[in-house]
């Protein structure tokens, strides 16, 4: 299983739609401070079902919808779509391609879709349950995770080891 494409619109600094196509191997994302690199990894967290806005660096869900600039108005919703190659059927679905979409609104509501069929957050969690992806996994190592591992006192470190079990 691997990522094929990520589409983002309205999320944080992505007022205009952006599309990233991924190959196997290593994809590097570069650019100046504040340009939007970490926002891309936040978008992946979001579409995989992240419910803690703190781990997206915000306080409430609407903080991560494009808030506007001096020249542009705020947007009322954000949408992230992740397309995965599922030829090895690691995800328990009959499809060889799985498309996950999450749409969030200023009201705090979220809509989820798997292959264009609306579903619940719970369905997205269950889809990734045995893959190590998503919550409690370490498939997304955020900016600051390294410091977290290092400042952790010996008693707190066991948590990092449990994440990997």
């Amino acid at each position: 299983m691997f990522l094929k494409r990520l589409e983002i619109i309205g999320f944080k600094s992505f007022a205009d739609k952006v599309i990233l196509n991924f190959e196997k191997g290593i994809t590097a994302i570069v650019g100046p401070n504040g340009s939007g690199k970490s926002n891309i990894s936040d978008a992946v967290r979001l579409v995989l079902g992240e419910q803690s806005i703190k781990s997206l660096r915000g306080n409430k869900l609407e903080d991560v919808i494009f808030v506007g600039t001096e020249k542009r108005k705020p947007l009322s919703f954000a949408e992230v779509t992740l397309t995965l190659d599922n030829s090895d059927h690691m995800l328990p679905l009959d499809f060889t391609e799985v498309v996950i979409t999450r749409k969030i609104f200023r009201s705090g509501e979220s809509e989820f879709y798997i292959n264009k069929t609306q579903c619940r957050l719970k369905d997205v969690y269950e889809l990734f349950m045995d893959t190590g992806i998503g919550r409690d996994g370490y498939s997304i190592i955020g900016q600051g995770k390294i410091d977290e591992i290092l400042v952790s006192r010996p008693e707190d470190r066991r948590q990092i080891f449990e994440e990997a079990s």
Binding site: M1, F2, L3, K12, S13, F14, A15, D16, V18, I19, L20, N21, F22, E23, K24, G25, I26, T27, A28, I29, V30, G31, P32, G34, S35, G36, K37, S38, I40, S41, V44, T69, E70, K71, R72, T131, G132, I133, G137, Y138, S139, I140, I141, G142, Q143, K145, I146, I149, L150, R153, P154, E155, D156, R158, I160, F161, E162, E163, A164, S165
Partner: protein
């Protein structure tokens, strides 16, 4: 079924000893349970010996050395339980150029089995990428994406 903490710990420790040697170019590392009789609450100490130096608790290491130890631990966990894809956000930030190169070539090896998306500012890490995306804000506050070609010098 959840692997018992002790078994998991031993798997990680064995793998960590290897990833440490690769990233530091030698030396050795150990993980110590502070209370082996209380596996529910025990802490974990990390002691390492960079090549030529003495075995010390990681607290006395430099900023860059500590970061490389953390990366060794992360890579060990990735090897023990691979995920289909892995997003790394600037984990190479504290490394000097020599350490970035070692990190990048090990990452290249790991990428045979897992897909990696790495956010980075470092040329050494960029040089092992198969695809390169540039994020810019030509219009202030608006992120825009550019597909970049890596110039082989």
């Amino acid at each position: 079924i959840k692997i018992k903490f002790k078994d998991n710990f031993e798997l990680i420790e064995a793998q960590f000893k290897e990833t440490f040697k690769k990233l530091f170019g030698g030396g050795r590392a150990e993980l110590i349970l502070t209370d082996p009789d209380d596996l529910l609450n025990t802490g974990i100490e990390i002691n390492v010996q960079p090549p030529g130096k003495k075995l010390q608790n990681i607290s006395l290491l430099s900023g860059g050395e500590k970061a490389l130890v953390a990366i060794s631990l992360l890579f060990a966990m990735i090897l023990i339980r691979p995920t289909p894809f892995c997003i790394l956000d600037e984990i190479d930030a504290a490394l000097d150029d020599a350490n970035v190169d070692r990190f990048a070539s090990y990452l290249k090896e790991l990428s045979k089995d897992s897909q990696f998306i790495v956010v980075t500012h470092r040329k050494g890490t960029m040089s092992v990428a198969d695809t390169l995306y540039g994020v810019t804000m030509q219009e202030k506050g608006i992120s825009k994406l550019l597909s970049l070609k890596l110039e082989t010098a």
